[in-house]
């Protein structure tokens, strides 16, 4: 494959506008027990996709127990009060349905795909999984040992190793510093009681957004939610907001030695949160810098002109709180210094000179024009609806987005680059065979 772009766009830069997708008019309902529902009837295919977003992310993990949110999500379908893990798997799969749950920094998602004819059955299982998980000791022990194996296995993935090291430096002292799936020490400490308590506190209808997309009338969807989630008890949970992460006071270089042919590089610092009004200017700026795939400056300079990398990109991950800004690339060990220097040069350039009219026009045209592609399956649309609700962007978001992108000027981009990219203070992680990479610390940190 020529290249599969990693999340080069803003992670939550979900989508410009329903500009052409005139049929997409979701309804929004808040239930008596505080669940927010978003329903989009799409009758073209007899399937129903449900995306449940629960405000129960890894940021809520107890400090020394990174991994609780992740394990809670993993335990959901490992048995309920009336169904064993085995029976649950059999019931879901007999319907041909698919269930998955996963924790992220800010929230946990549980998704279900089911045939339209089995929607009621699917909701029965989904509600049982979310409301009545058994969290049996036996299954917790098993899941924990699998997670410990997973943590060991991911040490073979240079991208994961680099990403975890990067977060540890950039988010020092902030909940985003903690690995979502924990580490050897913290996971060993997570008990059944931690998981039970986490679920009881945070898995509540008033912390839950449910997006339902597919061959289902709004009234049917509402009735299903009422039947299966109507008696779910709400509970107010006071969570003191975490302070925003602190910027670095000095640049940090972290070299990790592994027997690899390539150096994996992650360079960057704290970025922006999703509510930042400069989100749109940053979106366009990052597209030009390194988010625009084959059209980006980083790809042009590092891949097309020098043949140094298969993949290089930049990303701002706009979360509830400011997430990462990173440039990532992989290059043969011996070329690491050269590739890092090229990346730094592009980072500096976007802060010092305005982008061209052509670059600006092309970036805006892509971000606005590619919008329908981000909504063209029930899964993509359900995921998007839930996140739009999480960030309170409102259903007018679908009209607002293209307008906001269209309004971005060259000056906005220059200002955004100067405000949100710092070419002097950053973290640089290089996972490589260090004896070959021979990273020149003064050059890669000096950026002069």
């Amino acid at each position: 494959m020529r290249r599969l772009l990693t999340a080069a766009l803003l992670a939550l830069c979900i989508a410009p506008a329903f500009s052409h997708a005139a049929d997409i008019k979701p309804i929004r309902v808040v239930t008596d027990n505080g669940m927010t529902l978003l329903i989009q009837d799409q009758p073209s295919l007899p399937i129903v996709t449900v995306n449940v977003l629960i405000k129960a992310g890894a940021v809520l993990d107890p400090d020394a127990k990174a991994g609780v949110a992740y394990m809670t999500a993993g335990m959901l379908d490992e048995g309920t009060k009336t169904r064993s893990a085995t029976r649950l798997a059999q019931e879901i799969e007999f319907l041909g349905a698919e269930f998955a749950a996963k924790a992220t920094n800010d929230f946990t998602t549980a998704t279900l795909r089911v045939l339209q004819k089995d929607a009621d059955r699917g909701f029965t299982l989904l509600a049982d999984i979310l409301r009545n998980p058994a969290f049996s000791e036996k299954e917790v022990v098993r899941l924990r040992s699998e997670l410990q194996g997973e943590l060991q296995g991911e040490k073979d993935d240079p991208g994961t190793v680099a990403g975890k090291a990067f977060d540890e430096i950039v988010f020092k002292g902030h909940p985003y510093q903690r690995p979502i799936n924990g580490d050897d020490k913290t996971v060993a400490k997570v008990t059944r009681q931690d998981i039970v308590a986490f679920h009881d506190r945070f898995y509540r209808p008033n912390r839950t957004i449910v997006a339902i997309v597919g061959d289902i009338r709004e009234s049917e969807a509402l009735a299903l939610v009422k039947k299966h989630f109507g008696s779910w008890a709400k509970k107010e949970t006071v969570v003191p907001p975490a302070p925003a992460p602190e910027p670095l006071h000095k640049s940090v270089l972290k070299l990790i030695d592994k027997d690899l042919t390539q150096a994996t590089v992650a360079l960057g610092h704290i970025g922006i949160d999703r509510k930042n009004p400069d989100f749109y200017a940053v979106s366009v700026m990052n597209y030009i810098l390194g988010g625009g795939g084959f059209s980006s400056r980083l790809v042009n300079r590092i891949r097309d002109e020098q043949g140094l990398a298969y993949d290089v990109d930049s990303a701002f991950e706009a979360h509830v709180m400011p997430g990462r800004f990173t440039v990532t690339l992989q290059t043969r060990n011996a070329a690491a210094n050269q590739a890092i220097a090229a990346a730094l040069a592009e980072i500096k350039r976007i802060r010092t000179e305005p982008v061209s009219e052509q670059e600006l026009a092309d970036a805006k045209a892509y971000l606005i024009g590619s919008f329908p592609l981000r909504l063209d399956t029930t899964g993509k649309l359900a995921g998007l609806l839930a996140v739009v609700e999480l960030h309170s962007l409102g259903l007018s978001y679908f009209d607002d987005y293209p307008k906001a992108i269209a309004a971005v000027t060259k000056e906005d981009i220059l200002r955004a680059a100067q405000t949100y990219i710092n070419p002097d203070l950053y973290a640089l992680v290089v996972v490589a065979k260090q004896s070959e990479a021979k990273i020149d610390a003064s050059a890669v940190l000096g950026a002069k």
């Binding site: 494959m1 020529r2 073209s44 295919l45 996709t49 085995t86 798997a89 059999q90 799969e93 007999f94 319907l95 041909g96 349905a97 698919e98 795909r113 098993r142 040992s145 699998e146 410990q148 194996g149 060991q152 296995g153 073979d156 006071h249 000095k250 640049s251 940090v252 270089l253 070299l255 990790i256 030695d257 027997d259 042919t261 390539q262 795939g293 084959f294 059209s295 097309d304 020098q306 043949g307 990398a309 298969y310 043969r332 092309d362 045209a365 892509y366 606005i368 024009g369 590619s370 919008f371 329908p372 592609l373 063209d376 399956t377 899964g379 002097d424 260090q434 610390a441 940190l445 950026a447």
Partner: protein, 455 residues
């Protein structure tokens, strides 16, 4: 893997194609088929649920068409297809698609090379024009080739060299197939990449890139009556080529188990093995596909239940059957071994599940569950126009014909318990299997070091 793709479902009978030409329309799949005078086959599905379209052009050329010493030529050429024609220079293809709000890319397999554009339906003409333009007259600039070869070598490092399980899989295939081109990797060996030259690419391009060696697949919010004139406009003028016949190499019969070990720095042992099985040309293909589902589709499937859940030997386990391979391929099994578990115990546990199926047929409930899963996956796949088009392109290019997809679910429904047992007995035998094992070599002590400092 392709079985999973194959989950494209019964398209409801209510969908009826309306058009003003004479396409072949399968009973349940609303595929309209046309062939231009120069041999270009066109498959079109009108799918108006979102205002987008996927345009894919599938060439019947992949690593299977390469010769010894030039492994990776198909994939290298795929990269060069983005490096310009006289009309649209280097990189302009992707830039034009992007600035029109689209995404484009390509992928190469053992059997095919495919290019795609996903974009707003009203930009169909742009994608067609650009694909027609590079079907002929590619620049293949030597300087660009030298640079792109380095990019492909980086891709090889990224996907294979530094990924222990991928490295093992490559080694295993090189053992399982001795004379058939499935022996070598799609991305090629470093030596072959270094040995390639512009002439190799040019000859290969001229031989294989012809309208009569390609299938154009279009799925999305377009009408045949508007799409066809555009297709004619851009493609009809391209002359027919004379692509070579498919490779005639037949892998000789395997007489006895083969084993391959890889020892390298890795965290966890990994086992990957495969049995020689027939492809879509065999009537046993659906039974093999259902067998794969019973063994590995989900947490209630036999392999997960036994190895991960009950015996706690593996972190991951599964099976794969590429029924739409152009030449007979492998029915594979893999497992990521849990820390502190013996590799031999994992191998044995997988073999126990295989032997069990030979001794006793699956239960009625298990068989029905597997069929339900195949049927549901078939529908879920259609949620994505891209996947729909991929499925049609794969079936057509492999030689099965896109109609293979049309009655897929019906054929699966007809599979019996006895069929499952029979194909397990017929194909999953020791003498035709090749086993690959990744053994983590003793590791050097960690030497992670942090150097800090302000400038």
């Amino acid at each position: 893997m392709l079985t999973r793709l194959l989950a494209l479902a019964i398209i409801a009978a209510f969908i009826v194609a309306v058009h003003d030409v004479r396409p072949a329309v399968a009973g349940r799949l609303p595929v309209q088929e046309f062939t231009l005078a120069n041999g270009l086959k066109v498959l079109l599905v009108e799918e108006p649920k979102a205002p987008v379209v996927t345009v894919q052009i599938w060439y019947k050329v992949g690593s299977r068409n390469e010769v010894m010493g030039r492994a990776g030529l198909s994939h290298m050429l795929e990269h060069m297809m983005f490096k310009g024609t006289p009309k649209y220079g280097k990189g302009e293809f992707s830039k034009l698609i992007k600035k029109n709000g689209g995404n484009d890319n390509a992928f190469t397999s053992q059997d095919y090379t495919a290019y795609f554009e996903n974009l707003a339906a009203d930009k169909l003409a742009l994608a067609l024009e650009l694909e027609a333009d590079r079907l002929q007259g590619l620049l293949l600039d030597d300087k660009e080739f030298q640079l792109e070869r380095e990019v492909v070598k980086e891709e090889r490092r990224l996907r294979i060299e530094d990924v222990p399980p991928a490295y093992l899989v490559e080694q295993m295939y090189a053992q399982a197939f001795m004379t058939h081109p499935y022996h070598w990797p799609i991305i090629g060996w470093f030596n072959d990449l270094d040995a390639m030259n512009r002439q190799d690419l040019k000859a290969y391009y001229e031989k294989h890139y012809a309208p009569n060696n390609a299938t154009l697949v279009i799925v999305g919010d377009v009408k045949a009556e508007t799409a066809l004139p555009l297709i004619r406009k851009y493609f009809e003028g391209l002359p027919m080529g004379s692509p070579p016949p498919p490779p005639s190499v037949v892998e000789p019969e395997q007489k006895g188990e083969r084993r391959i070990m890889v020892k390298r720095e890795a965290q966890l042992p990994f086992i990957y093995f495969g049995y020689k099985v027939p492809n879509f040309k065999s009537p046993d293909v659906r039974a093999l596909a259902v067998l794969e589902t019973i063994l590995s589709a989900g947490k209630s499937a036999r392999l997960f239940d036994a190895l991960v859940y009950r015996k706690k030997l593996a972190l991951q386990v599964g099976a794969g059957y590429n029924e739409l391979a152009a030449s007979p391929e492998l029915f594979t099994f893999y497992a990521v071994v849990k820390p502190d578990v013996k590799i031999a115990d994992v191998e044995k546990a997988v073999l126990v599940e295989i032997e069990r199926l030979k001794k006793e047929p699956p239960s009625d409930m298990e068989l029905q569950k597997a069929k339900n899963q195949v049927e549901a996956r078939y529908l879920f796949e259609q949620d994505s126009i891209f996947r729909q088009a991929m499925l049609l392109g794969t079936a057509e290019t492999a030689g099965a014909g896109w109609q293979y997809i049309a009655d897929y679910v019906d054929k699966v429904r007809a599979v019996t318990k006895e069929d499952i047992q029979r194909v397990a007995r017929t194909y999953l035998n020791e003498d035709t299997r090749t086993i690959g094992i990744l053994i983590p070599a003793a590791q050097k002590p960690p030497s992670g070091q942090a150097a800090g400092g302000a400038q």
